[in-house]
Amino acid sequence: MSQMSSSPVIPVRTLLPWSAAVPVLLIVAYLVTMDSAGVLASAGDFLHELMHDGRHLLGVPCH
């Protein structure tokens, strides 16, 4: 169960390039959870209304 050293540490240097994925993921999160009106103009309104119930149930602040 707790044999130490079973998982070698991945150096931060190796991890760093993958941090580029973080902003991309956060933009998707923004479109889903935040008031997206204004970002994609009318498409934003549509997405906002489409994902309305999801946003409420995910528990993020809503109107």
């Binding site: 169960m1 707790s2 044999q3 130490m4 050293s5 079973s6 998982s7 070698p8 540490v9 991945i10 931060v12 190796t14 991890l15 993958w18 941090s19 994925a21 973080v22 993921l25 956060l26 998707v28 999160a29 479109l31 889903v32 959870t33 935040m34 008031d35 309104d45 549509f46 209304e49 489409l50 994902m51 309305h52 119930d53 999801g54 946003r55 409420h56 149930l57 995910l58 528990g59 993020v60 602040p61 809503c62 109107h63």
Partner: protein, 226 residues
């Protein structure tokens, strides 16, 4: 290696998001419908759901879209966090680490903000304060992550005896200092509010629970194959 983790995270996140959507559809949707009925009865004020840019059926589909996209995002971030903490913090066993990290994520990203700024059903919430409420919510979420990180560092040196109180003190101070938000109209049914909030927390619990379990399962499979 990180690519494997990342794909595993996206896969586990997509499954978690879909199942969370199913939970929301079965458990949460009836409360949203009840709240919308109240909102429409009150009529006029604020953001109307009757304008039909997207039908209610469309919004039920949108629920699955939203939770699946959210699951993918959480899964991707989870995988990168997993790649970082592996071997540094938490259990040495890969599956135990996946489940522990999911529990920690749920605690920091969901439960900590939820207890201070719980989500609201339609008909609750003043549209004019959405910007302020969003900032407070994100600050609370960031403090949850900070408290989790601090607890992980303290745990490694001093164990649970110090890590748990440290987490609680950081979160408790933030709860005491940050302003509260009270926008529930006095006439809004308390039982409906409670049911909605429990279903919202349940949806997140399903999402993080499935994410951790599926990620752990995929770790086990991959190890067997290698």
């Amino acid at each position: 290696m990180i690519k494997d983790f990342f794909l595993r995270g996206l896969g586990a996140g997509a499954v978690a998001g879909l199942l969370a959507g199913l939970f929301g559809f079965l458990v949460g949707e009836p409360f949203i419908d009840q709240a919308i009925a109240i909102e429409e009865a009150a009529a006029g004020a604020g953001h109307s759901h009757a304008d039909e840019l997207v039908s209610r059926g469309g919004q039920a589909f949108g629920l699955f879209l939203a939770t699946t996209l959210y699951g993918l995002v959480i899964g991707g971030l989870f995988a990168l966090a997993y790649a970082f903490v592996r071997g540094r913090f938490g259990p040495a066993n890969e599956q135990a680490l996946a489940v522990t990290l999911a529990a920690g994520g749920f605690l920091a990203v969901v439960l900590v903000p939820f207890l201070k700024y719980p989500g609201n059903p339609p008909a609750v919430g003043d549209p004019d304060t959405i910007g302020q409420r969003t900032v407070l919510y994100l600050v609370m979420l960031a403090i949850g992550l900070l408290a989790l990180g601090a607890a992980a560092v303290i745990h490694r040196r001093f164990g649970w005896v110090a890590a748990v109180p440290a987490f609680l003190v950081i979160v408790g101070v933030a709860y005491a200092v940050l302003p509260g938000v009270q926008e529930v109209p006095p006439e809004f049914p308390a039982v409906l509010l409670w049911n909605f909030r429990v279903s919202s927390l349940g949806l997140q619990a399903v999402l993080w629970g499935v994410l951790g379990s599926v990620f752990a399962l995929l770790s086990a499979r991959q190890r067997v194959r290698v």
